[in-house]
Symmetry: C2
Subunit: 329 residues, 2 copies
DNA sequence: ATGAAAGCGCTAACAC
DNA sequence: GTGTTAGCGCTTTCAT
């Protein structure tokens, strides 16, 4: 910067002023031009580290995740966060902990040492977490997870609304016997989607029939068997709501194997909106989207709105899960 | 740090020495303990920004990608890069450009201002690129892409070997009429895999039959049609090598629709190893893996080995694509 | 309209 | 074994 100043025949202060467009001390246009010319001539680039030291702003956000970075389920979360950060000239420091506590702890330390101005703690699937306690002075927001006592702000999918939306879509198409193949491992998604399913049924005056609801592990194979069983029922369902798209994949196989057509004979709706599956299946799968992009985006947005030094209110934000209509209902 | 020093009754230098475990000036164990005690008492944490300014090391690597971050194809690349960086205490600054030149240019500037010590430029699929010219003094390695004149080091999948491996696996199972449903849009993967397919055939003394090779867009639907056509051939193939897993998904549908069984009647091998598809398909798909994790890992590894200030030799590294055996052949 | 000077929090010669 | 001191490259107050 001194070199630039010397070449432009001004003080280093002036260079700083023109680079940062400081308005309080108006520099003449002619001087500005000289300075910029010198900058380009020298190929000088400001040193963000030095600037950060001085301003006490790293312009950096930390993103700690368990597996989310590597899971196709949720990569859009990173995209949302990164694009939002980008729009306010911040950058994202990411580390994936593979679920290991020690890595998580160290990652947090590293980020705090780098003076990140906010932290996002994200998980691959919606569940309860216990993040490291010592966050120092930086605000943290949870994405796709929450702490037991709700003492940290969180952005989580509105599972109930998602289950409701899926079921309602089916009901609106005239289906009255709607099966639900649920996940079997207890998790918020399981309870929430089931609750949404029941509420939709109730709201439309349809009975809740326990024989139409089953629980299996969420993979194509178990869903295949479950679908088969469902379709062998005396009064078989005309529509199946699958806990996720992987299961819908198995359901498709079972339905086709029985010579039935989708959606003519049996309608199917999934959950997750995994492009790779939903769009490639035949017919393309109507499904409910997990709002990963939106959660990532809002996470950094929340971190922005924070008047320096303050802490975010521990609000649990339920983000809606929109229906993505394709051709399976 | 001054506060810590005062509390421990030593100079600030001593604190620095114990924090950084400086061996050149051995501090007595008793002093070390006092210093650490003070550090914990005060909850002090070193400021990596100040340290970076002084040492001129940011301990940071930049990762610029077009879509790779958001594509399930390649998220493992980030994992590989991040884990490797982690093991040498570096962190990753990531930005996804969505393919926009201006974002790319700015991202590069931002990273250079933050004094990243190395750059990784990655793309979603294997193709030629023109990265921004002004890299400043930092080394860059390309991942999953290359520049026309090969003037930048690159890590790319060995498509030829991948195609060869897939075909060979089929040949070893006794297949002699092996179809290949290739991609239609010209790209290295298309040419490489075809080349591998031909070489394997030749090496095993099998004739190359052009009627067994077709080109379609790489989606399930077109692969469905292509497979159908292939299976209606007078002398139909007993095995199909699909350009990618999405296409294998379509091939599965077509084979099953014709009442044929996999792999008994027709064997299938894919490419990409998209867990989501390959493992969920029934039967699970044998496929060739794109070495994303490995490319990410090696990229940061290469950046490490660089004696400060030097530039990486522009070697094009072809990373092998291993066969992932499941149950479709 | 521009410049002098005082740090931001740390590292690393060098001195004792 | 430990302390003194001089920066690293910037921003920003206060003078001029």
């Amino acid at each position: 910067m001194y070199d630039v100043a010397r070449l432009a025949g001004v003080s280093q202060t002036t260079v700083s002023f023109v680079v940062n467009n400081v308005t309080s001390a108006a520099i003449s246009q002619e001087t500005r031009d000289r300075v910029w010319a010198a900058i380009h001539a020298l190929g000088w680039r400001p040193n963000a580290i030095a600037r950060g030291l001085r301003t006490r702003h790293s312009q950096t956000l930390g993103l700690i995740s368990d597996e989310v970075v590597t899971s196709p389920y949720a990569v859009r979360m990173i995209l949302g966060a990164q694009e939002a950060a980008w729009s306010v000239r911040q950058m994202l420091l990411v580390v994936n902990t593979s679920g290991q506590q020690d890595i998580e702890q160290m990652a947090l330390q590293f980020m705090l040492e780098r003076r990140v101005e906010g932290l996002i703690y994200a998980t691959m699937y919606h569940h309860e977490v216990v993040p490291p306690p010592d966050l120092g002075p930086v605000p943290m927001v949870l994405v796709n997870c929450f702490v037991a006592d709700r003492s940290l702000p969180a952005l989580i999918p509105d599972e109930v609304q998602g289950g409701y939306t899926a079921t309602e879509a089916l009901i609106r198409r005239g289906h009255r016997r709607i099966a639900f193949i649920n996940e079997v491992i207890p998790m918020p998604a399981l309870f929430g989607r089931l609750e949404g399913y029941r509420r939709a049924l109730a709201d439309y005056g349809l009975p809740f029939d326990p024989t139409l609801v089953c629980s299996v592990h969420s993979n194509a194979q178990e869903a295949f068997a479950a679908t088969r069983a469902l379709l062998e029922l005396a009064e078989r369902p005309t529509a199946i709501f699958c806990f996720n798209d992987k299961m819908a994949m198995g359901a498709y196989d079972a339905i086709k194997r029985l010579g039935l057509r989708i959606p003519h004979d049996v309608a199917v709706v999934g959950f997750d909106n995994l492009e790779l599956i939903a769009a490639q299946l035949y017919p393309p799968l109507t499904t409910v989207e997990l709002p990963h992009y939106e959660m990532g985006r809002r996470a950094v947005e929340m971190l922005q709105t924070l008047p320096a030094g303050e802490t975010l209110p521990p609000i649990q934000h339920y983000i809606p899960c929109p229906l993505i209509e394709r051709a399976s209902i």
